[in-house]
Each structure stands twice: as C-alpha cells, then as structure tokens.
Amino acid sequence: MAALHQRWWFWAATLAALLALPALAPQYVVHIANFILIYTLPVVGLGFLTGFTGRVSLAQGALFGVGAYTTALLTTKLGWAPVATLVPSVLMTIVLAVSLGGAAVRLAGLYFVMATIGIQQIVWLVLMNWIELTNGPQGVRSIPAVGLGEYSLETPQQFYFLALVAAGISYFLAKRVIGSRLGLFLRALSDDQLAASSVAVEVGRAKVTALALSAAWAGAGGFLYAHYVRFIHPDMFGLEPSVLFLVMSMFGGYRSIEGMIVATALLESATEYLRPFGEFRMIAYGMILLLGMMFFPMGILTLVRRRAGAPAAGKD
C-alpha cells in the first residue's frame, strides 16, 4: 500500500479515472459518486477526532445537519448567494459543536460517546420542533444550486466536479493537519494518555481544537449536501447518519484517510448494490457491519496491509 502510494502513475491513473467518471458512467452512478464525495468530508472530519484523540463521536450527523441548515436557511429565507454561506455554515457548526461538546470532549472515551448521543438527539429534536426557525418537519425546500458566475451546478455531472474538488481539498488538508505539530501532538496523546496528561493544560485545548476541526469538516459537508439535494429534512440528520459516519470512519482502518474514503465508498453504495437482497437488504447491511468488526477490528484495509507484510496499525 505504502509503496503504491509513492508511484506517480497510481496517482495519475486515479485522477484520470475520477475526472473521466462523469463522462463515462451513467448519471445515476455519478449521483452515487456525488454522495460518496460529499460524505467524505464529515467522515474525514470524524477521523480527526477518532484517530487523533481516541474519541468516538455519534453526533457527526447532527453537525452535518447544522451546516446544511445554516446554508439552507440563509439562502432561502435571507436570499444569500450560496457561495457566501460556506463560511457562516462552517463557523456555525464549529460554534455549536464547541459550545455543546467542548466540556464533554475532556471526558474519557466512552463517556464522550455517551455525551455525543445526547448532543445528536438534542440537535435533531430542535431541528424538528423549532418550526419558526427551521420549518420543522416540513423541511427546507428549493435550496438554490451553487452558482459560479452565470454557470449554476444543477445536474449531478456539473455538481460532481465541485464535490470532487471539495473532497480533494479536504483530503490534502487532512493530510497536512495530520503532519502538522498539532497532529503529532494529538496522536501522541491518544497513544499514551499518561504522557499526554503531563502537559494537561494544553491537552484540553488540543482536544477542543480537534473537535472544532471535525465540526468544520462536517459543516462544509453539510453545505455541499444542502446545495446538491436541495431539500433537507431533520430526519436526514438523525442518529442514523451519525452511526453511518462513525462506521465509515472506522471501517477502513484507524488513522488512514485513504481507508476512510474507501469505507465511505463501499458503505454509501451499499444501499444500492445490496438492492438484490430486496427486503433483506438492511439485514445484509447490518451483517456487513457486524462481521466486519468481528473479523477486521482494525478496519478492512488491514487485510491489504497484512498481505503486504506490513504490521497492522497500533491499537489505542
């Protein structure tokens, strides 16, 4: 795997395949690819939190929703241009995440998971019931498409390139963040709690930073989602997507951004390629999660790594 990454032809082929996809594949496949690219953002965001602080969050779906709702309400109710709402969406998501989760992120791992379930449900209930602000169960409709000058990204093919660029930027940014001092610091912290606790004051701040980063990615993802689907409803941001994002961030392999992206692709398209199972579709999906965790607890990419002879990633 590592060797493969360093080969230029691997990257060139990947890029060519990704660029050619909308021209070659049927629209429906492009549509699925768009969802995969959009979901890459919240999943990579979650990866910061999980991989670098050892914290698992089940509130990423809610934060994704906060981003989506912020842009949806700004564009439909106040008539802002979609491009102008990206920064407010991301900021709003960060503010909400830090104010609700800032205190909780200092808790030990499992207690933090519990807290995020509370956050998830609170955000969902407010989206559902604060009708004056969010339209409640009616959802927000007719969200405008993202426009670049005269050109507006309406069809799945047009949107694809925006999603691809966004996913690409988030991929490289994520790589940068991991390589940065903060990334190293956070990683050290989740590897060795004791050592990390000797620098206690900074640890708290670093964790909140990781939380803010993961929220920022979720908010940006929500922004894309709102302008692609162009109708949002509180149920799109319940516990179900949170679970899905968490699974996507773990299923590929710890701390591997590539693993997360592969898992996102595999699981997001699962609802489609499992269609032949008919009414047993969801059972098959649950089995994938269960068996995946039973037999590849360090992520499915360990299968590849093991074969390549490299030792599996360390556990926390």
Partner: protein, 287 residues
C-alpha cells in the same frame, strides 16, 4: 393531572430502568456499551408474543419462559458474536449497532406492521385518585420491584452472583482467585438479555409491539443508566424512574414537543457535571 402524569411516568420509568439494567450489567463487567440493547428489548417483546400466541400461559410463567429463553440466547450470542468484539469500545459499539440492525430488520421480515399483544396482564382499568390506568401498569411496577430484589439477592447471596461482582470489580484479580471470567462474562450477557426481554413482555400489552420499538426506549434507557450511574444497579433504577417521571411531567406541563429532550439534556448535563452518575462510584479517567 399530576397523579396521572406521575403514575404513567413511573411505569415508563420502570421500563427504562429494567432495559437500562442490561446496559449496566454489561458495562460493569466489560466497560463496553451494548448498543443492541434496545433491540434485544424489542426482540424480547416479540418472543413473548410468539410464545403467548401458541401456548396459553398465565402472566408469570410467560415472563419466566421469555426470561429463560432470552438468557440462553444471550449466552449463545456472547460465545458466537460479542466475544469477538472486545478489542476496544469503538469496535464493540459498531459491532453491536450492526447486531441491532440485524435484529430489527430480521423481526421486520416476519412482523412488518405493529401487532397488538395479548392482554396477558388483564385489561381492567384501575383508578387511583384522579389517575386512571390499565392493570398492566401495576404489573410493570411490581415486576420491576421483584426483579430488582431478585437480582440483588443473587448478587449478594449466591456464589455465581459474587463471582460476577468480583469480575465487575476487577477481572484480573478475580481470575487469580479462581473465578471463571469467561463464564462470568457469558452469564452477564445472559442476564442483560433476560431483563431486557422481560421488559419487552411487560410493555407489550400496554402498547403494541413493532420492530422499531427498541430505538427510542434503548436510548432513553441508556440515558437512565448514565444518569443514575452506569456501573450502579440502584443508580440505574433510580435514573430510569427519574427520567420517566420528569419527561412525563415536562410533556404535560411544559411542552410535549420537547418531551423527549428531557432525557437527553439530563444525559448531557449529568455527564459533564458528574460522569459517574448519581450513585456511581468509580471515577472515570479524566485526561
């Protein structure tokens, strides 16, 4: 109105408490949260339904049979499934969520729509003060009481119970003094399945049974366990009752739209203020 809300909340609270016990039992032993717990509760209700429709059993034997079958199922699933998920809590969370999805959708294949449950606990309406409710509510409250007494007796006076407590306190020390830790863990899962299934049968006749009934109850029961102390049995019972009553009062006097918010706000505030819960002892590692 207060009486009605209070008694209704107490009965719901008992269900949260008993399902919450399932979380507590597993957490004490393994420091893991079993997210399939709510769906085990649902499956227990359907197990009761299937049995009650075939064999005409009075209420008590029915509860006993369902509890026993669920206990066995819990032991079997521990051996086949859970045992492979003990790596760390993330793996356990995702694995148990997967199991929950399988359980829920498996039941959905056979029962795609809500079904009425036979009125095994009678259908008379009882009046206490201004409150009116079905006999079934009394059964819920009394059975919870009996169950808690039985569990307490088992943990205090039986050899197995003491072994389980030893494992919960410290598995390594327990192993060195000759406790069969693997068996204790399997028994723990058996117990947690049994209590959840019994709760399912208790609630069945009051409402309907449907494949998605475990979702919200599971989350509320979880909140109850955390609120009272996820490593404390009395704490979980207290947590369930408090959340059940508070959310009913909030729904009645403040706003029923935000009724569900009560449990989760309590959960969040409690975790930040006192992560061990009201009656929990252990201090979590704060880093």
């Amino acid at each position: 109105m207060f009486d009605q809300l209070f008694i209704g909340g107490l009965a719901t609270g008992c269900v949260y408490a008993v399902v919450g016990l399932g979380f507590t039992l597993v957490y004490r032993t393994l420091r893991m949260v079993n997210f399939a717990q709510g769906h085990v509760f649902m499956a227990g209700a359907f197990l009761g339904l299937v049995i009650a429709e075939r064999v005409h059993l009075p209420a008590l034997p029915l509860l006993f049979v369902v509890g026993a079958v669920a206990f066995a199922l819990g032991m079997v699933l521990e051996r086949l499934v859970f045992r492979r998920l003990y790596h760390n809590h993330e793996v356990f969370i995702v694995g148990s969520i997967g199991l929950g999805i399988v359980l829920m959708n498996g039941v959905r294949v056979f029962f795609p729509e809500p079904v009425p449950f036979p009125k095994v606990f009678g259908s008379e309406v009882v009046q206490i003060g201004a409150a009116r409710f079905q006999e079934g509510y009394l059964w819920v409250v009394l059975s919870t009481l009996v169950l808690v007494v039985l569990l307490h007796a088992m943990f205090t006076y039986t050899r197995t119970g003491r072994a389980l407590r030893a494992v919960a306190a410290d598995a390594e020390i327990a192993a060195t003094v000759g406790v069969d830790v693997k068996r204790a863990i399997a028994l723990t899962f058996g117990l947690s399945f049994a209590v959840a299934a019994i709760a399912g049968v208790l609630i069945g006749p009051l409402y309907f049974v449907s494949f998605d009934m475990g979702d919200m109850v599971g989350l509320k029961a979880f909140s109850a366990a955390v609120f009272g102390g996820i490593n404390s049995i009395p704490g979980t019972i207290l947590g369930g009752l408090v959340i059940g009553v508070l959310e009913n009062l909030a729904g009645g006097y403040i706003s029923s739209a935000y009724k569900d918010l009560v449990a989760f706000v309590i959960l969040l505030v409690m975790l930040i203020w006192r992560p061990t819960g009201l009656l929990g002892r252990e201090t979590p590692v704060k880093v």
